[in-house]
């Protein structure tokens, strides 16, 4: 910080052109359907643009490295927030909540009384007794 860095005009113009180009990229990718990956891509392009502004227009690149550390830390914390929150929103209701798919830990748990009765092989037992006979035949 002790001395002022003087950036050549050429650099500014190149960065400005890149920002305009990336704005075009943002518009272009919004027409392609990538599912939930669209938002990731849009955020990525926006982050690159913001970083270019911070590094060149705001002189972060030539500044005290502590300031750069702070900038990177804020990106990291934002990343942590979004990633772990998405572990919830993307997987909500996915795991262990469907006992018909998963093996029950305690087969006698009261919870399973609400489900259709099955025998030890998972066949329903309440409607017809035929399947019971089949089972006996196997043995």
């Amino acid at each position: 910080m002790s001395e002022h860095h003087i950036t050549p005009l050429r650099t500014y113009l190149i960065i400005a052109a890149s920002l305009l180009f990336l704005s075009g990229v943002t518009v272009w990718v919004s027409y392609i359907d990538l599912g939930s990956f669209n938002i990731v891509l849009a955020m990525f392009v926006a982050t690159v643009k913001a970083s270019l502004v911070a590094f060149f227009f705001m002189h972060l690149l030539w500044d005290d490295k502590k300031n750069l550390t702070m900038f990177l830390m804020s990106l990291m914390f934002f990343g942590i927030f979004v990633t772990i929150t998405m572990l919830d929103t993307e997987f909500r209701g996915d795991l262990g909540l469907n006992p018909e798919v998963k093996d029950p830990i305690n087969k006698r748990a009261a919870f399973y009384d609400t489900l259709p009765l099955t025998d030890t092989h998972g066949h329903p037992v309440d409607e017809h007794s035929d399947e019971h006979h089949e089972d006996k035949d196997h043995h």
């Binding site: 502590k66 830390m73 804020s74 914390f77 942590i80 927030f81 772990i84 929150t85 572990l87 919830d88 929103t89 993307e90 997987f91 909500r92 209701g93 996915d94 795991l95 262990g96 909540l97």
Partner: protein, 540 residues
């Protein structure tokens, strides 16, 4: 070494404007202290009203609606207006520049601005109280907070504004620690209170913006009907909890880290022994600050978040126990074979060790998903966080006040009364909150104005001891206040506890308006009791 001058920051310059426009960190700290203690009494009064309502089942003193307002305001005032700003704002402001040998913080005008921003935010909170209160609980969970007809908007606006004060104070402290240290005061020679404030400041500037964003999103939904958290508008109410706790869990560390710093100062000084594991304590501060950002979901185990997240959050939560344990054991080892003297600050530090350990260990119970599902929203949780917040932070704050009182104001309080009050706080606190663990285990839910007959006995114990606790804290604070009013002065060169940090060895009590007569020269580390003998000097 310390010159006897009659000029100090309290009497020079004089006049009301010299206070309102001061850029002196000590005066700003004192203003934070006064406003913090006023809010503390306000929050404490609300707590006592609730406790007396709960002395017996039924609505004896206040109605259900008023009870809802009382617990919301108690929580919001205590957290946002007292605990978060109080230690960094008051003790941090007064001590940080003194401890690093600086004339002031890095940005003195910004420091004054922080205080005014805090006051401005506090006005909104006061308006909320006068205008009929708010009944959502201090967490402002959606969807209720977007529908409640109470004063959600002024209260959240107040918190939004106070958040900026917190960010600016954090920024100021970080710059001070980096840039204002005297030559020779390297990172590992900093007093641990400075490390603690540094860790706190990092959390303040990285987490608080998220609170501001959350409050803005809440208002956007309320006023513009943009669906963010309300399912009827296509939002996700659990997302609110993610936003809220991404700030509020690190905020727990904003509250407790400075308390750790205070304890790291009190214990070596009053045991006259070098601190055990300096670097471990310093780095555990930073690692708590970091891990604190990864565990917010443990507040949401019953919110319906994905099971995968539950497992991840529960797992990471246990890691907090490691750096915390490092600190607790280091403090105990510091006392081992030291000359422990039972002065008022030391009694608070010892109380802290007991109470915070109970608070921390019950936190590990609650970090286990299976157990938390049973204990969530019961008095077990209430007891747990009061053991951490009051038994930890407020007890440490009282200890710090007693420790630095002769330094900050040049007066000595009655130590016998202070010791009795400290004992009263310890016993009263346990009497109030330990029965609440049992209440919680037996299924008493939190935030209810009444309860079943089976809980009468424990609730009445809790209420009785809360009275003792309230009286003890009142006596402790009045004892300090009285010494100030009575001008029970100590000699400006006094070092009553034999402290080794710069504020004790290089400046008068109360400090010179510019902190030091000349730039201090560092002669020894902050806790070198094994190398240098520092006399306890206390003259009237």
């Amino acid at each position: 070494m310390i010159k006897n001058t009659k000029q100090n920051y309290l009497n020079h310059p004089r006049g009301i404007m010299s206070w309102l426009l001061t850029v002196d960190h000590k005066r700003i700290g004192l203003m934070y202290l006064v406003s913090g203690i006023l809010f503390f009494f306000m929050g404490g009064l609300l707590a006592l009203v609730m406790r007396f309502e709960l002395a017996a089942p039924g609505n004896d003193i206040i109605s259900n609606e008023i009870y809802n307002n009382a617990y919301t305001l108690h929580g919001a005032i205590m957290i946002f207006l007292f605990i978060i700003p109080a230690i960094p704002g008051a003790l941090g402001n007064i001590l940080l520049p003194l401890m690093v040998g600086a004339k002031d913080v890095a940005f003195p005008r910004l420091n004054l601005a922080s205080f005014y921003i805090y006051s401005f935010g506090a006005l909104f909170a006061l308006y909320t109280i006068v205008n009929g209160g708010v009944d959502t609980g201090w967490t402002f969970y959606t969807p209720y907070s977007t529908q409640s007809s109470s004063n959600v908007v002024p209260m959240t606006l107040g918190i939004f504004i106070i958040g900026f004060s917190s960010i600016l104070t954090g920024l100021n402290f970080i710059a001070t620690v980096h840039k204002m240290r005297i030559p020779g005061l390297t990172w590992y020679k900093l007093p641990l209170f400075v490390w603690a404030l540094y860790g706190t400041s990092l959390v303040q500037i990285t987490a608080t913006p998220v609170l501001a964003i959350t409050m803005v999103l809440l208002m956007l939904e309320r006023f513009l009907g943009i669906g963010i958290f309300d399912p009827a508008l296509g939002g996700d109410p659990v997302l609110y909890q993610h936003f809220f706790w991404f700030y509020s869990h690190p905020a727990v560390y904003i509250m407790i880290l400075p308390a750790f710093g205070i304890i790291s100062e009190i214990i070596p000084v009053h045991s006259r022994k070098k601190i055990w594991g300096y670097k471990f304590i310093a780095y555990s501060t930073l690692s708590i600050a970091f891990i604190g950002f990864l565990v917010w979901g443990h507040h949401m185990f019953t919110s319906g978040q994905s099971v995968f997240s539950q497992i991840v959050f529960s797992f990471i939560t246990y890691f907090v126990g490691i750096p915390t344990g490092v600190k607790i054991f280091s403090w105990i080892l510091t006392m081992y074979k030291g000359q422990v003297s039972f002065t008022p600050p030391m009694l608070y530090a010892l109380a802290f060790l007991f109470l915070f350990t109970i608070g921390g260990l019950t936190g590990i119970f609650l970090g286990a998903v299976a157990l938390d599902i049973h204990l969530h929203d019961t008095y077990f949780v209430v007891a747990h966080f009061h053991y951490v917040m009051q038994g930890g932070t407020i007890v440490a704050f009282l200890g710090g006040l007693h420790h630095w009182w002769p330094k900050s104001f040049g007066v000595m309080y009655n130590q016998t009364i202070a010791n009795i009050a400290a004992l009263g706080v310890f016993i009263g606190f346990n009497g109030t909150f330990f029965p609440q663990f049992l209440l919680g285990l037996r299924g008493m839910p939190r935030r209810y104005a009444t309860y079943d007959e089976q809980f009468v006995e424990l609730h009445s114990y809790s209420t009785f001891w809360s009275g003792i606790l309230g009286i003890s804290i009142f006596i402790a604070v009045m004892n300090l206040f009285w010494s100030f009013m009575k001008k029970n002065k100590v000699d400006p060169g006094s070092n009553p506890w034999g402290g080794m940090t710069l504020e004790w060895t290089h400046t008068s009590s109360p400090p010179h308006p510019h902190n030091f007569e000349e730039e201090p020269v560092l002669q020894h580390g902050p806790y070198d009791y094994d190398k240098v003998i520092v006399q306890k000097t206390y003259k009237k």
